[in-house]
Symmetry: C2
């Protein structure tokens, strides 16, 4: 005996595939769409269907680009400084950096971080292409903007070794107190790093 | 200048239509699907597209049924007692009651609750059809299973008046302490109702 029509249980199951969506949230989404006019589920369905065919990767920076486009706008825009390259792990990390509005260089997306436990070695990441870019574009500064995690730090270290003694400044994002956090609630490691990286006023 | 391809920003916007999904959660869902094989977004897209055309309402109980089906399985199943009718507000409320596994009667979905502030009057709800069912099916008990809210209580009161002096038992769900809640943390109104509804052991 069916309590709910199959179209509805199928939709609940499909929403359950999304990260962090349990049965209750999936039900909530599905029930909400039942109550809306058909345009709302249709809009989401169309957006989902266009996704796989609509994405490509920039040949130079490996950022996400619309399918068929060779280079990212963030690379080709003449206002972006090709001599400064921020190296990020995932294509979405550059969105976070763009939102600061404080970076006018270009990006290089690694496509992951070195993680032996997940079977990700340096040869699977776009590190060779980064080293090549340093020469091709006459890069003057490489900003290693990887996560402040073990994988992020070790990937940064590996890249630094690969760059070797090429004449380029290698920096990484500052570690320290996040804005708005009280000293007494900061964790020991963060506080330790903030102390190490203290700056003259 | 585009930071992200339009297919991706469209998808983030579309996820933002779901209840309780802000820009960060929408981004998280979209980014997750980018990393998965194309089958995952396709599965969700298909489920969404089947939704509007795949649903209908039971002619008798107004529960959701697959399109083209006249009566709900929960009504036609011979094991369900048509003489006991649980009256609920929304089609999804009956899922909650079914999950208890303790109800073997049939349902009647009102399609909302009386709420003058939202412009919902009794004539927009399936109350007339409920009163008709009492006679048609020889109903012996009507369980008013509406929410324990102002709208739920006043709708229950209105239905009771409409049933009038027809020979049928009218009950409603017990109000009291939810299971697992400490007395000291129960709110005053709930505790007051639990006291009013105290039962002999």
């Amino acid at each position: 005996m069916q309590i709910l029509p199959p179209v509805l249980t199928d939709l609940i199951d499909a929403f359950g595939l999304l990260p962090g969506v349990g049965p209750r949230t999936a039900e909530r989404y599905a029930y909400y769409l039942v109550r809306r006019d058909p345009a709302t589920p249709q809009k989401l369905a169309n957006a989902l269907q266009s996704l796989p065919g609509g994405l490509g990767y920039c040949e130079k920076t490996f950022a996400l680009v619309p399918a068929g486009q060779a280079l990212s706008d963030l690379y080709t825009d003449p206002r972006r400084d090709k001599k400064i390259v921020a190296v990020v792990s995932e294509p979405f990390d550059l969105v976070a950096l763009e939102k600061t509005g404080q970076f006018s260089g270009t990006y290089h997306v690694l496509g992951g971080l070195i993680s032996p436990i997940d079977g990700v070695g340096p040869e699977q990441l776009h590190i060779k292409e980064l080293v090549k870019r340093i020469e091709d574009d006459g890069v003057e500064e490489v900003i290693l903007a990887t996560n402040a995690s073990v994988e992020g730090e070790s990937t940064a270290l590996y890249i630094q070794q690969q760059i070797g003694d090429r004449k380029v400044k290698v920096t990484r994002l500052a570690r320290g107190l996040p804005i708005g956090v009280d000293l007494e609630y900061a964790d020991q490691i963060t506080l330790g790093r903030a102390l190490e990286g203290r700056q003259a006023l």
